[in-house]
Symmetry: D5
Subunit: 150 residues, 10 copies
């Protein structure tokens, strides 16, 4: 029936254009003036591009103009594996399983009864040189939200 571009289509177009142009996520992120983590997740359809950033993506990767509106739509965030199987992602799940109660306890100790927001949130992934083997550094920052009592 209707043949409009979906978020999945635009993600495929981005991946294809990135490959043919030999770009990196870091490079694309720099071109649109955003961070690599956010840029990749939005390109995967897990975040919505503000309109001007969507335009920059279209230009940077030579996407069809109608892709801009699609990139700006609020996505429905869906993941199909309750427990991820890919080892790289599973290790993150394992960290939540092992250290989740610890993070919770320390947030309570440092802030009070509340949580770290996953919405007012940002993150970076960097490579840190180390004599015994380089290390992956993940930094997360989320606004503290205290529980309401009413």
């Amino acid at each position: 029936m209707t043949q409009e571009l979906t978020k999945e289509d635009v993600t495929a177009l981005i991946l294809s254009a990135k490959k043919q142009a030999g770009l990196t996520w870091e490079g694309i992120a720099a071109q649109i003036g955003m961070s690599p983590v956010w840029t990749h997740s939005a390109a995967m359809g897990m975040n919505a591009f503000p309109p001007e950033k969507a335009e920059l993506m279209v230009r940077a990767l030579g996407l069809p103009q109608e892709a801009a509106a699609v990139l700006s739509e609020s996505p429905t965030k869906i993941w199909s594996q309750t427990v991820p199987t890919d080892p790289c992602i599973y290790r993150l799940y394992e960290i939540v399983g092992v250290y989740g109660p610890t993070i919770k306890a320390l947030i309570h100790e440092k802030f009070g009864d509340g949580i770290m927001s996953a919405i007012d949130f940002d993150m970076s992934v960097t490579r840190v040189e180390h004599p015994k083997g380089d290390r992956v550094k993940i930094e997360m920052s989320g606004k503290y939200l205290g529980y309401n009592a009413w």
Copy 2:
């Protein structure tokens, strides 16, 4: 039958002693010369204390001497909720669901085909002041492990 101390018993003793002495995890960690994240997770039975650190814990919290050996045993790390329900921990699970593929893509871009170790790993949780509301900062660092090809 046998009535020896289990890891669960020692965790209960620690929580009770901490409460009565009015201690914080940060304070206990300082007393034994370890980080608060590791100290809490080991106290919960999710990590094993090196023998000398176990001794320090026993002294710092006035635990029975036999607790030291229990603290040093290698734990079996078990969590019972495949998807955690507590909002503070669920947000971390959500971050893995939303950003897991992104972290994976950036590790591949920066390092090659491999993962961040969850074993040769450390983490901190800190409070960062911010005019629009203070923020929780979580920093994770794990050794990059490249897949073997043989």
Copy 3:
């Protein structure tokens, strides 16, 4: 081993005292100056009492003094039924299943790409008279949180 009061113990004490004193949640809530929804959920161990409210609970229900500290601890919110079976609670789950995507679409239309907070949140349950049968009215209010782009 240690025989301290747990959150479950205090919930049981509250239910028992409430029954013997012939109190209602509405009445208890009025005595401590909080809403009935919050008061019940905190009494069930799903929210933490601010210290002064914990003191009021202890006095209102004649609980042992040590219960106050327990009521003030940050709870770990756990529910064991992924899909609730009790018909009264299931209907709420059903409403989320049927109308969840609709609520999401209208939040996006009225606010932008974001969510309703379940932390900076309050709720009331009231009875509304109606000629064809009285109605249950549930009002929820949560702060709008817009997704961060960084």
Copy 4:
């Protein structure tokens, strides 16, 4: 084989027409004289349009005439994620997990042994201005149904 319009087809046609005409759910709802919540959910195939409302939808959005009959069919309400992953919808699931037993207890206190109907039911979503950040207000109203004893 047979090539008739399905509910999914009509939903796609509606979304496409809405986008091209630059309409809002609020606007469409006003045109057919129904509420935005109900209109969106029926457009998604989660409720059946009364025949005259189906005709109004066809006219308002320029749908093919045969869509009217499809819009009037009783839908089979299916959702595939037992626990929703989208953060905006998950927060509602979380509210049911945390406050479900509380809503149940207050219904019992105010009405007796029964439930809030999810069938004889209506809901609204509104934006409420607030100095510390605007709030999402969700109001649900369902007929009280008392359990039968026979």
Copy 5:
């Protein structure tokens, strides 16, 4: 801690008294003037006894007086097996799986878009003689509830 009677305790008392007195559910139901289906389900803690029926139960089975209040409490209806394993109960689950969509289609044909209430509901189980083997007859009756459109 507190040692009050729970619904489970009262169910156990009922089963024990019924066995010692050599009663049947049909007999108990007759004594309290209710149907056997409802009486059994309420005795199992799946329905609440109106106060006067609770008194009759206490008298009919010689239960402790405090059991009456427990029998009148609104139960939380919980079943732990998502798919029941007992063959007698599984067959009912199978009937829902095989004939559920058929019952739905016929309700829509005969009534419109709505459901059979499971709250304003009653049921009977009877034995019907038959030359090829007696038959179990289950009769359910629930109020038709039409979906609201608003």
Copy 6:
């Protein structure tokens, strides 16, 4: 590869023909001399038509002749939702959850140790007028099967 009619194809043909001819399940059932419940479930592919009834279906609905053989094949009865989400079907699941143990207890009381067959089984759905709102009546009848002891 092979392009033969499947059970799903024939169900689609039946639904399409029924719609175009403006028939009801009750009407189709009368034409082939079977009950509405059985007719619908067999048309959905959940029961096999005896050859002569298959011929009647083909004639009544103007199906292609080859559909008759397909209608007569023994189906594999599959349902994909362990817990059905449609409210009309869920209520039946709920009834099994709440009253399953009660039905079992009364079968044991009236017959002995055995079950109600779901194979040598029939069912009807009827509309019963009622001053407070019409009611759905479901009548099930299954042969009692006593457990074998050998």
Copy 7:
């Protein structure tokens, strides 16, 4: 509270008496005049003993007299592992997974549209000598039940 014998208690008593008397299931079965398969499953609480067989069990194993009534109660058949983990039992599950559709096809070919009853059912397990290693032989026999069409 009440301290009556449960089915689990009687199973434990049987296992203990069997061990101390050095009996086999074959031997016990012979003493009560039933097959070993049925005897074991009834002793495990998966089948009900006819009263006279219950008496024989009590005598054969020196059980307390009140055990007879418990042995005669209709059990609720519950297994907790949806997929059994014990290799000996898993192999049977695997056989159902691999050969279930085949058994179904051959029943349809030999009998028509129906099933093998698991209620009017019996089974034996025997040892068959074989030069390449003795074999386990399992023979099941269940009444054919044809689907009803009405």
Copy 8:
């Protein structure tokens, strides 16, 4: 891309040819000199045909020559329903649930600590006449495998 025959394709070709030629599984099995159970399961892709049997299948059913190689490939045995819903197959699952521990106990009694192989295994399904209704007889035979101790 590549358009080679898959196991699923060949199964479809077999079912189609069998239908058009009016064959039975018993008949096909006789033609290739194998048992009906094995023949059906191999035709469904649950077992691999020895090359000469594959040739006989191709000839018996007039399959394309390239089907022979496909029939001889080792299949990956997959079933998608953890708990089968078709009543005919579910009854077998139920038998494993109810009698699995019994079969295990009798194997241990007759052979020692081990299992019945599901690999060195054969099975038959036959119809047994019976005055009260014919019976399905399933005979399984698997090599006893004793656990290794090393």
Copy 9:
């Protein structure tokens, strides 16, 4: 009721005796003349001790004499985590997920259509020195079992 030693009791006794005597699994295995893998798994209740090995265990660890018979009973092998959470065990599950189809393909290539037995099976775990960090070596050996065709 009966107070006999269970497999769990004996496992606890072994662990306690091993700790107090400062033994290793390697040491205990050497004392009873079995391998460390088998000895540990049998001590955990996952394998049955031949009677003479059970006697040696009793002597080596100073267990009560009645423990010998318990150690010789055929265990029911149960694990409760479908997906293990402990990182050390999860990695093994991951290896099966990633390399399972590969092991299957190579077994088919080297042997034919069949499997590696997990019953006629043995395994060792050894430490292998390596300049870049010592390695864990796991060697498994199981009898090849070819599928029967009949």
Copy 10:
């Protein structure tokens, strides 16, 4: 939309080319100078080919040149069956269930608190002749990783 080769496409091309050329995994592995286990798993898309090995694969199997880049991409490792059903793979899952805690205990005894890496890992599958039937030998070797304490 875009029509580029995916990992699944290349796997299909490899399987087809291997079949037509009559190659074995052992043979292909020898041609590219890698082990059969690694070669098969990488060909299945479970590991990434180093660029020069990808080129060798393309040449050895006559794949289109663009396949080389695809073979070198980091795969997302996904398996869809939490518990594998194929008997050959299930036996490996069973071994992890039965012996996982034993492998863990022996690693702790021989190395300390840590795990065997599944990333810095290699494996072989070989056929070992044996008078009572040849055996499958699986050898795994992974770097020992000790838990960090910080």
